[in-house]
């Protein structure tokens, strides 16, 4: 539904070309591809028969993968497929394994990637009803190695300080300005509390389902990247379908994540410098995946989350999904339009060099807290125009390892959306640190060395 004033080319102005012998007209009522078989399904107003549909899906997947591969310059490496067990990622796994095998068969052809493995995040600590063995079976039937990481592993002790606890001074004498900041102290992962308990306490400390869903997504992405890194895979495939991406775009925008949006739903994302993330299923809508799985007899499981089977207003994610799917029924190209909009947006220049957020690992926008406090006056002092607070860009603002008990001001280290999550969480909640700085260090260090030679565009 593009605006009529934008000068969209109309087909009437092009000269008509005579159909050559390679172009045959559509036969109404028959499959649009082979034109001889009776159609079995309608996708986006086109009719397909079973065989042609499956073949079309496979071709679409391979084209998307090749496009991503060519647009990011990564040397040939191992590839990890993120497998949740749901319909989208299972379909992606079998198509990718098939693609890889096809390349190996030919004698002259080079294998596409050194190896293809499946990566899975085991959420049984939160959702014990899921049978992990089924998911291992899916990987086995695709013929790939299955690697699994437990969700509570985010709290595991890996030698570095990885968790921080929110401290809030609820004393009456505390001034309003202090209340705008977030204070936290370092927590050493001790042996007296297991990671599983810690995980459960963390999710219990978050107050709304919206926050819980957001944190679950964030933790799963971080764990998958960590797993890919451990297995030395340079590429990670995420199975977000077109419908899921459209929903995510609206849902992330509604939560204030516009700054990091291109990295979270983009077709290719190189935010984590050593692992490139691709989303080859973005051209598939859920209906296509459903029929593909049915006709290729693909095994899948149901992946539950906090708001599965809940009413629409349970969380922002659930509300957005209900809305976008409903809107798509009234205006049939909504999902693809939103997806295309995304492709035309790019991250801000500042985003690529920004610090990673302490909680989610994605870029932190400059002055996020100041933006909010300027627009939301909540004190009675006569500070009519709030002065800009002094910029403290000293990275040693973070908690030091020796003095784990002092509470430090971590507001600047959290992105806009994570700030509101931490604000609304119960005091004393222990949050997992993303440790994403170790992913970004090399890039940052490089930049610092050659900083003085860059010409600022504002000069």
């Amino acid at each position: 539904m593009c605006d009529s004033s934008s000068d969209a080319p109309c087909s009437g102005s092009q000269p008509t070309i005579d159909p050559t012998k390679y172009e045959r007209k559509r036969v109404p009522g028959m499959c649009v591809k082979c034109k001889v078989a009776k159609p079995n399904v309608t996708i986006r107003r086109s009719l397909y028969c079973k065989e042609c549909f499956v073949r079309t899906c496979i071709v679409k997947f391979r084209t998307a993968t090749n496009r991503s591969r060519k647009s990011t310059t990564t040397p040939r490496t191992k590839l990890m497929v993120a497998l949740s067990g749901g319909p989208s990622s299972s379909a992606m796994l079998s198509m990718m394994a098939d693609f890889q095998r096809m390349h190996i068969k030919g004698t002259a052809a080079q294998p596409l990637y050194d190896d293809v493995v499946a990566g899975h995040v085991d959420e049984s600590a939160l959702f014990p009803e899921v049978k992990e063995s089924l998911i291992a079976d899916i990987a086995e039937s695709a013929g790939v190695k299955f690697m699994s990481a437990k969700l509570e592993g985010i709290f595991a002790d890996n030698g570095e300080a990885s968790a921080f606890a929110k401290t809030v001074d609820e004393a009456a004498g505390v001034s309003q300005e202090v209340k705008d900041r977030i204070y936290a102290r370092l927590v050493k992962s001790g042996a007296n509390i297991s990671s599983k308990e810690r995980l459960k306490a963390f999710f219990a400390g978050l107050t709304t389902d919206t926050d819980r869903e957001e944190m679950l997504d964030v933790l799963k992405s971080l764990l998958l990247v960590r797993l890919a890194r451990k297995e030395e895979c340079g590429v990670l495939l995420m199975g977000d379908s077109g419908t899921r991406i459209a929903t995510k775009i609206v849902s992330l925008a509604s939560r204030g994540r516009g700054f990091s949006l291109p990295f979270e739903v983009g077709a290719e994302s190189t935010w984590f410098s050593d692992v490139a993330v691709y989303r080859p299923m973005r051209d598939f809508i859920m209906k296509e995946i459903g029929f593909f799985n049915r006709w290729t007899a693909q095994k899948t499981v149901v992946v539950p989350t906090f708001t599965t089977a809940a009413p629409a207003r349970a969380s922002i994610g659930r509300l957005t999904e209900a809305f976008v799917v409903g809107l798509d029924q009234d205006f049939s190209s909504t999902v693809s339009t939103i997806g295309r909009t995304m492709q035309k947006l790019e991250p801000q220049k500042r985003a690529r060099d920004a610090l990673p957020c302490l909680l989610c690992g994605l870029p932190v926008e400059h002055n996020a807290q100041e933006w909010k406090s300027r627009l939301t006056v909540n004190r009675s002092s006569d500070a009519a125009a709030l002065p800009y607070p002094s910029r403290s860009t000293d990275p040693t603002d973070r908690c030091s390892e020796n003095n784990g008990q002092t509470a430090a001001d971590v507001t600047r280290l959290l992105c806009y959306s994570c700030q509101s999550i931490v604000h609304s969480a119960a005091p004393g909640t222990v949050f997992p640190g993303a440790n994403a700085s170790s992913y970004r260090n090399s890039h940052e260090d490089l930049r610092r060395q050659i900083e003085m030679f860059f010409i600022d565009n504002d000069e």
């Binding site: 934008s6 609206v250 509604s254 204030g256 207003r313 939103i338 909009t341 939301t376 909540n378």
Partner: protein, 398 residues
């Protein structure tokens, strides 16, 4: 035990603030609301001393509160602005004529000069006549396109430096969502800017960009401001309704969602590889346009010829071709009202400005001199007591 206000800790809390959920007294509410608008104005450096600012006044709650707040802040913080009320009469019976009565009352209440421009006067077509020709489906397009130009024309008639409109945070968030759903990239890049320019010359801004609609209603209610509130008779089928419904649901799940959407919208950047339309001038009327003819001229042409779909459906290029081909004909379409060319309006405004700066002082609204041209010899039209400008401003003949 009654709660104390969370800000002053003194008076009893009587309301819960929609933006933050704080429980505060009404004096503190007025204070925080007015301070936030003041902060927005100062941070974005919207005005400079001596600016003549027109307030887009429809008689609805947003524009009434805007007029009240602009006047209050102008006096309290000494912005040094000259304020005017600028109102557009689309010619919708039963809706616009009622809200215009409210604007006329506002003029007296706030002691601000008022100018009303109407579609009938500027273009020769009222909205009622348009809906009779076009039907009920796409009429919002006509109204919106004509109103934008009408505001700019009115601003030139008064020689204004700036226009402010009462768009609030809910409006901006809805616009962002709507542009996202429809894939309207050029608008998505522009809609979060607090200052835009309609005709390329006079900036227009939204001081209420970060103010919630519910808070505006609360302010108007508590201050007992006079405003008119019903929906436009033709509104039910707009696409914006979907975005609005979604936004209302979002707000009930999480109240900060509106500001969060604006924050996300401001962070989005259009890829440099995308081609955006280049601004040019309309050949017929001189307004800002990305095509040879501006949208208003295309729509008007369609109305005059009895082709109501011209400019509405996607064949924009065909529309341009039809008009270009026919204007080469010997006898073009003759109509009752030909919109004045913008160059002429600008020249008139410039002449007014020179007279004002060189000659006598600016006239007071109560005196008998015309507020617009400051010419003491032309008397205000005695039949029309509600306009403070004389017939020179309503001159639309070429």
């Amino acid at each position: 035990m009654p709660r104390k206000c969370e800000i002053c800790h003194d008076a009893r809390a009587i309301l819960r603030r929609p933006k933050t959920g704080q429980r505060i007294c009404n004096e503190c509410f007025f204070y925080v609301f007015e301070t936030e608008v003041h902060n927005t104005i100062v941070e974005s450096k919207l005005f400079k001393r001596g600016d003549r600012v027109g307030i887009g006044a429809s008689g609805g709650k947003d524009s009434t509160v805007l007029a009240h707040i602009m006047k209050t802040l102008n006096e309290r913080h000494a912005y040094g602005l000259e304020l005017f009320l600028l109102s557009v009469d689309e010619g919708i019976a039963g809706y616009r004529d009622d809200s215009l009565e409210t604007v006329k009352r506002n003029k007296t209440q706030y002691a601000l000069p008022l100018l009303i421009v109407s579609y009938e006067q500027l273009y020769g077509w009222s909205m009622d006549a348009i809906v009779e020709t076009v039907g009920r489906k796409n009429n919002c397009t006509f109204c919106g396109v004509f109103r934008r130009q009408a505001l700019d024309r009115g601003a030139l008639m008064l020689d204004l430096d700036h226009i402010v409109t009462g768009h609030n945070a809910d409006d901006v968030a809805e616009t962002i969502l709507m542009n996202l759903f429809r894939g309207d990239i050029p608008r998505l890049g522009r809609c979060t800017e607090i200052v835009t320019t309609g005709d390329g010359f006079i900036p227009r801004s939204k001081p209420f960009k970060y103010a919630y609609e519910k808070e505006i209603v609360m302010y108007a209610y508590l201050k007992r401001l006079d405003y008119f509130s019903t929906e436009c008779t033709y509104s039910p089928n707009a696409y914006r309704g979907y975005a609005r419904e979604f936004l209302k649901d979002l707000e009930s799940v999480r109240s900060t969602a509106i500001l969060d959407i604006i924050h996300s919208g401001e962070a989005m950047r259009v890829a440099s590889s995308v081609q955006l339309p280049t601004p040019a001038q309309c050949e017929r009327c001189g307004y800002l346009s990305s095509n040879a003819l501006c949208k208003a001229c295309v729509l008007l042409e369609g109305l005059e010829r009895g082709l109501p779909k011209l400019g509405i459906d996607r064949s924009a290029r065909q529309a341009q071709q039809i008009i270009a081909a026919d204007s080469a004909n010997a006898d073009p379409v003759v109509r009752a009202v030909e919109p004045v060319h913008f160059e002429r309006l600008r020249q008139k405004a410039l002449a007014m400005r020179e007279r004002r700066l060189n000659g006598s002082d600016t006239a007071h609204p109560q005196s008998s001199a015309c507020a617009g041209c400051a010419d003491s010899c032309c008397n205000p039209d005695s039949n029309d007591n509600d306009k403070d400008v004389c017939a020179c401003m309503s001159d639309t003949t070429a």
